[in-house]
């Protein structure tokens, strides 16, 4: 018998793990989750659910006399303990009189509170009790269900069983099947970190342009949505600055309270100083990005038709708002390839512009508030152009890119994605 190899060569030029061993590992992982779910569920059912169910259904009611009382102590750690009031009951089972201890209510971590509760029970008083017909020495003085415990009994093992079972089912479904068969049956493993593209019906692999044609233009037919990496950077910086400074405030409040109490925690102060420096730097970086994003004004782009087709000619309208001087504003049509791959435990995405066509360039602009610079350009998509393509890990994207160089601010880039469809049937470009 020949074991599968641990490493096999992938298409491309990288060496990756063996698919067979990967499937074995995945199946074992999910099987382990199922086993853990069964074991954990079994423990909870036999240890909690079944005893509680028997107390409420099988135990026989009786009346008992309190003949003793005390506190049951349970150690909860190195120095801690909990206390539970307990009473000794004398009760009759058939012709026999028995005596046994029963817990009276929940545990207390405070011994004095437990004693206080215990004092409410008088020796000689009568209490209703329930004993186990199979083992009459087991007696309780209260019944009912602990619903939190039942929810825990169902929830945790249920989640393990559902997640593990579904994964095991998928792994077994893929076992021994070729990648074509898996793909045809929709059983290919999904990458949870990769984007699932929305595709155009009737055009496999071509991304949908529904989100690009739902905004009408003021002069041309559609106003294209912007895909600006600056917006994401701004959002990321803002989140970072907010979260980091929240931690700084917590540390500073603790340090301040210590100082007010006459104590100085040097370790806390030593940690606080670099945290404050990073927090201030985060706020400065966010403020700078916010000023840059808003100072140069908005960029809008309208287009005469969408989606585009190879060989087609379209009209575009660029509108740049804001104030101040611009050294240059240029517009280009670009084709960008995007590949997402795993490197160790990281998921990385690489982008590369492989084709670029200048559409227009304007120098020495002077913008005034309340008005906007407008320019028209003609877009010609080459007859043999590749259409837009999107799959789970790979994409070929078309976009119109605006690059600006304001006189007083750093240069900026704003991209407007467009979708190029394959040539229509009968088109000579096909």
């Amino acid at each position: 018998m020949r074991l599968p190899r641990f490493f096999s060569k992938k298409r491309g030029h990288r060496r990756t793990g063996s698919q067979v061993w990967g499937s074995v590992g995945e199946a074992l992982f999910h099987a382990a989750l199922v086993v853990a779910g069964v074991a954990f569920g079994g423990l909870l059912v036999t240890g909690i659910a079944v005893p509680e169910w028997r107390i409420n259904h099988d135990f026989v009611e009786s009346r008992g006399t309190v003949v003793g009382r005390g506190l049951a102590r349970r150690s909860t750690g190195a120095d801690g303990a909990s206390w539970q009031p307990s009473i000794r009951l004398r009760y009759v089972v058939g012709a026999e009189t028995l005596e046994a201890w029963a817990f009276d209510g929940p545990r207390e971590t405070d011994r004095s509170r437990a004693l206080e509760r215990l004092d409410r029970t008088r020796l000689g008083e009568e209490r209703i009790c329930w004993y186990d017909p199979a083992k009459p020495a087991d007696v309780v003085i209260s019944r009912g269900y602990n619903w939190w415990m039942w929810a825990l009994t169902l929830l945790l093992p249920g989640a393990l069983l559902a997640f593990g079972g579904a994964g095991l089912f998928r792994s077994l479904g893929r076992w021994g099947r070729s990648e074509e068969r898996q793909a045809a049956a929709g059983l290919r493993p999904r990458d949870s970190l990769a984007d699932e593209p929305t595709l155009t019906h009737g055009h496999p692999g071509v991304p949908s342009c529904d989100d690009l044609v739902n905004s009408p233009g003021t002069i041309l037919r559609y106003r294209l949505p912007i895909e600006s990496p600056e917006s994401w950077n701004l959002l990321g910086l803002g989140l970072f600055a907010a979260l980091w400074n929240a931690v700084v405030v917590l540390l500073a409040v603790n340090a301040g309270l210590d100082l007010l109490g006459g104590r100085i925690d040097w370790l806390l102060l030593a940690v606080l100083v670099p945290f404050v420096v990073v927090g201030v730097a985060g706020v400065v970086a966010f403020t700078r990005s916010l000023v840059l994003a808003t100072a140069v004004g908005t960029t809008q782009l309208e287009i005469s038709a969408h989606p585009l087709r190879p060989g087609g000619t379209y009209e575009a309208l660029l509108a740049q708002g804001g104030s101040g001087a611009f050294r240059e504003l240029e517009m280009s049509l670009e084709l960008e390839e995007r590949a997402t791959f795993r490197q160790g435990t990281d998921t990385r995405t690489e982008r590369l512009v492989v084709w670029k066509s200048p559409l227009g360039s304007w120098q020495g602009l002077q913008l005034t508030p309340g008005t906007r610079f407008e320019a028209r350009a003609t877009i010609h998509v080459p007859a043999t152009a590749m259409h837009s393509f999107a799959s789970e890990h790979n994409a070929v994207n078309w976009r119109i890119v605006i690059r600006g160089r304001p006189a007083r601010w750093p240069a900026f880039t704003r991209a407007f994605p467009v979708v190029v469809f394959p040539p229509a049937a009968g088109d000579p470009a096909a």
Partner: protein, 139 residues
């Protein structure tokens, strides 16, 4: 000298004939494929899978799309030494020779042997005529 079997001689060979000489098709064209299998003596096929698929190649993880898939498990059909299949190709995705993303179309014939192993024969063809991307940038 050892008398170990030569693994190359033990591999079957699959010859595929396309309906066009240059293996180049336009979107929505019909494709017809005929294949012939040459097995080594003693090899028994229990199933055959015939498919027309596209897959990505390059820097990213591989993605695959199945346009046509057929699995033959009837022993008589599976052991037939030749067969044909085909259909109408879709409008997309077109074959693409990018820099970090490539899209390939191919016909695959996969043989499953009684011993549990399988053998796949892949034959690439072009859908569309998109020129290869060039890098550094070409406008």
């Amino acid at each position: 000298m050892t008398n170990l079997p030569d693994p190359i001689r033990q591999s079957p060979s699959v010859t595929v004939h396309f309906c066009t000489a240059d293996r180049r098709y336009k979107p929505l064209d019909s494709i017809a494929v005929r294949y012939e299998v040459d097995l080594s003596p003693g090899q028994m096929v229990r199933a055959v899978e015939r498919s027309i698929v596209w897959y990505t190649e390059g820097k990213g993880e591989e993605d695959i799309g199945v346009h046509f898939f057929e699995r033959l498990t009837d022993r008589a059909t599976a052991q037939a030494m030749s067969g044909s299949f085909g259909g109408r190709l879709p409008a997309s995705p077109l074959s693409y020779e990018g820099v970090i993303v490539k899209i390939r179309w191919c016909v695959r014939v996969r043989l499953f042997f009684d011993a549990g192993r399988d053998f796949v024969s892949e034959h690439v063809f072009d859908l569309g005529s998109v020129p290869a991307a060039a890098f550094p940038l070409r406008s």
